[in-house]
Amino acid sequence: MSPLLEVHGLKKHFPIHKGVFSRVSGHVYAVDGVSFHIDRGETLGLVGESGCGKSTVGRTLLKLLEPTEGKIFVNGEDITALDPAQMLPYRRQMQMIYQDPYASLNPRMSAGEIVGEPLTIHRVAASKERRERVAHLFDRVGLRPELVNAFPHEFSGGQRQRIGIARALALNPELIVGDEPVSALDVSIQAQIINLLMDLQDELKLSYLFVAHDLAVVEHISDRVAVMYLGRIVETTDKTSLFEMPLHPYTEALLSAVPIPKASARARKRVILTGDVPSPINPPPGCHFHARCAYALARCRHEVPALREVKQGHWTACHLHDAGVVFPLAKPAGE
C-alpha cells in the first residue's frame, strides 16, 4: 500500500519583481528539491531555522501554494496538477493548524461558526447535525460547550489554539499539517496542546506533519524527523537515531545549541556555529551549509551532496561520509 503522503523533488521558487514592468529579477529558492513520505498514523517532524523553507513545504503540499516543480501524491494519487475544484475532496483529508491563534481566527465569527464552517463548505452536514458535530468537537478538544457563541477575543491563546484544532478535525481528515502549532504558547499551555495532539492522534489514527523550530518539542511528538537547511532536507531518520547520533554537521550543531533545563547543563560543551543562515535568494553553491561548517572539504564548495542512506533508515546529505569522516564530529566533554 502506498503511503498516505509522498512528496518527490518538491520545489517552490518565489519570483522577485523589480522595476516599473515588474521584471523578474531573481528568485527566492524557498524549497529546493525536497522528498519525503508520511505513513498512516505517523508523525513526521520538520525542523529548521527561520527561512529554511519548512513552512513553505507545509503550504505547498496542501496546494495553498502552487509547487514550482515536483510531485505530491496522496494515497498514491498525483494531486500536483489538480485545479481548486478537483482539489476539494483531497482538502477534506488534509487540514492545517496555524501558528498564531490570534491571527488565524476570524474575529467576526463565533467559535461555533469557525469550527462548523468546513462542514458548510463541504456540504457534509445539515444545520442540526452540524450543531451536534460542533458540540462534539468542542468536547473533544477540551472547550466548554457553552462557549460556541463566544467570539475569538474572549478566549486565551491556548483556548484559541483548541478552536483551530477543532476546526481542523471537523472533516475527519487523515493528515494534519501543524505549522508551529505550539510556538506562540506559554510552556504550561504548550504542554496541554501537545498532549491533546498526541491523544487525538492515538484516538483518530491521524498522521501529522509537525513543522516547528523547537527541537525538544519536535523530538517529543515525532516518530521520524527531517532537518531542513536553506530549502533542502539535510538529514532524516527516526527520532532516536537522529538525537542520539546525528550524521550531519548542521544537525549536530543544532542539537548542541538547544539549552537543556538541568542543573548540570552549564558544564556542557557546545558547538557554536559562526555566521548567519545565508539568504535563500542567493544560496551558496555546493552544499548550502559549507560556509558555516567547520569540517567543509573542497568538494563541499561546488558539489551538491545527495541525500542518501548512510545507515539503515538514516538518510543524510553530506560529503564527509564519502571522505570516511567518523561521527560524532565534536567529541563530548570528558573524552
Binding site: E49, S50, S156, G158, D186, V187, S188, I189, Q190, A191, Q192, I194, N195, M198, H213, L215, A216, V217, E219, H220, I221, D223, K239, T240, F243, E244, A253, L254, L255, S256, A257, V258, P259, I260, P261, K262, A263, A265, R266, R268, R270, I272, L273, T274, D276, V277
Partner: protein, 355 residues
Amino acid sequence: MSLLNDVEPIEQARRDAGAALASPLLEIENLQTHFFTAAGVVRAVDGVSYDVHNGETLGVVGESGCGKSVTALSVLRLVADPPGRIVGGTIRFVGTNLLDLTEREMEGIRGNDISMIFQEPMTSLNPLLTVGRQISEAIALHRGLSRRDAGDQAVEMLRRVHIPEPERRVHAYPHQLSGGMRQRVMIAMAVSCDPKVLIADEPTTALDVTIQAQILDLMRELQDRLGTAIILITHDMGVVAENADRVVVMYAGRKVEEASAKELFEYPGHPYTKGLLGSIPNLEVAAHTNARRARLNEIKGMVPSLANLPKGCTFAPRCGFATAECHAAYPPLLQHRDGHWIACWHAERLLEGAA
C-alpha cells in the same frame, strides 16, 4: 552628576565596613507596580523582592503576564503612567533609592549605569537611523564625547560584539541586518557605557537556536570582561539553567521561589516550578528513552487574571497539592534550605519528596 555625589559617601562607608563585596548592586524590595484600568486595578507586580550582585547573572523566569518584564521596566522607571504606577517598595542601586530620583537624575542612570536589552531588536531600534548613529547617541550623551569620537567608539563597540566588518556595518540601517546582527547591535548599545547592571528581557526569544547560542555566549564573554551584573528575564528554563547563577521564579505578580540555579533544578520546591519543569519536553531525557512519546506533565487550567486574583495562594486553583489552607491565605516566602526561598504552605513536604 549630583547623583554621584550622593552615592559616593555611601559607597565609601560600605568599603570602610569591608562589606562592599557582600552588598548587592541592585536591590528591589517589596516592589508593587499596579495598572489602573477601566476593568479594575491590575496588580502586575505585587510585592516582589530580589537583588543582583557584581558579576552575577540572575535569572527571572515565569510565563507571560507574571510581572517579570514590568519589574524590569519599573527598575528603569519606564512603566507608562498612566495607566501604570509604582505604588510601593524601593529599588536601591548602590544604596540610592531610584524611586526618589527626579526624571533628570534618572536619565543619568538609564543606559549608563543600568541598561536594557529588549526582546525584539527590530522594534527597539530606530529604522531611520544608521546603527552607528544609534550607538554613538548613547555614548555622546553619557560620556560627553564629540560626535566624531563617539562615532569611532561605535565602530569599536561593533567590533566588541563580533560584528564582521564593523567599519562598513556602522553605516548600515537596521533593516539591512539579520535578526542576530540586530541583537548584537542592541547589546553594543546597551554595553557602550560599561553599565554595572544589564537587564536582558527575553534577549534571544526572537532568535533561532544557533543564533541564540551565539548571543548568550557573547553576553557571557562581555560579563567576564566587564564584571557586569546581568538580570536575565526569560520563559525558557533551558536558557536559565545554562546561564544563570541564581534564579527567581515568578507567578501572577509575585516571587514564588528563589534559589541558586543548581539547587533549583535539582530540588525544585514550589509546585509551580515543578510543574513548569515537568511540562517542557526535554531533549536529553526523551532521546535516551525508547518509550514512544510519554505524556507531558501539564499544569491544568491557566494563569488567573491579575485584575481578579483568587483568594489565598494564587496558584492553588491549578495546583495538585492544594489544601484548604492554600485557598484561605497566601503562603509566606520562607527560607527552607540554604538560600532557597519558597512561598508554599507545603514546601517542607515537597522538598522531602524531592530529596
